[in-house]
Symmetry: C3
């Protein structure tokens, strides 16, 4: 069994950002030499997501507005978690909607994705260094 | 390490449908010859889900109504994504709530599911051919 | 390839509870002897979740309140599923928001978690015996 572990680091300019990281993950799959296996990609922070969906600008704005509706940032005093001195309780909720991780099949040495599937890093409490874990196993 | 890759194709009659695909996945596990491993089942399209829950008619209707409340289809003009000519922005959101994929343990050559766990294909923008990926690895 | 399968059983005192199970999963990883691989942790019941987030008391209360807002328990008559004699339709929804499973990388014989990542069992219809599956594969 072959395996590879790599961290991807991000420092986004805004509180919330949506970054397409597909090509970075694809490069690690090539580097791993795995022809058939599984590729786990997960946020290592609990106020961010890794998810798969469309790389379409309007949709990313729709997601952002929708998540704000389901778990609004303000007023920050509505969340008990923010009494700890944080202001990111909403980010812990948005991340649960969008998910922590994706597991992608590797077939013939490539990410086995559908035609529109793109891997995204969803940041909900950015403007600081945070990271994603890529773990690949297979043969 | 053994591995198997198979696509399952669907063309649902309605915009939204919920199909129990457990027996199709179970058949692929048998075919793989894997006794212990992992089985990834994921939608290859970004307006559909694979999730695990109950095969109970009332619950499926409850899910449908609940998802419409959290991410309504109409008016379609409320979503920027639909300015691209699509009318399926809501489907991209419903899919995030229900999830893209499940990973199921394989033990003694079978899907290692709890008593009520059933694997579902959740379609949120149907009436066209779409597919699910099954990838099995193990020994 | 090494593999390990273990069930963890819970009987929570309230309808909804949030239990940190990280150390129990970590112990199974040690027991498996796997240095590099994947660890799947999933609820075997469809009214409970396994998810990763913060072990902070205020946040757990925030989650509970938020989930009640997105999928209220009462009135139980609002859900078709409850006509079967159940009163747990809301639990089937809360579980979809929080997720069924997590897949965690194993590196150097340990769960490869970020600094604040903790594995939780989220119970939404408790006060009875229910279980979680841990499946570990790797080398």
């Amino acid at each position: 069994m072959k395996h590879l572990r790599q961290e991807l680091w991000f420092n986004t300019p805004h509180r919330r950002d949506y970054l397409n990281i597909t090509s970075q993950v694809e490069a690690l799959v090539r580097q791993s030499g795995v022809a058939n296996g599984l590729c786990l990609v997960n946020a290592m922070h609990i106020t961010a997501s890794v998810y798969i969906n469309d790389d379409e600008h309007g949709l990313l704005e729709d997601y952002d507005e929708w998540l704000e509706k389901l778990a609004p940032h303000a007023p920050t005093s509505q969340y008990r978690h923010n009494r700890t001195g944080e202001d990111n309780a909403d980010a812990h909720m948005k991340r649960q909607i969008m998910g922590r991780e994706v597991v992608v099949a590797i077939t013939d040495g490539k990410l086995d994705l559908g035609p529109w599937e793109q891997i995204f890093y969803g940041e909900f409490d950015g403007r600081r260094k945070k990271r994603v874990l890529v773990k690949i196993i297979g043969e």
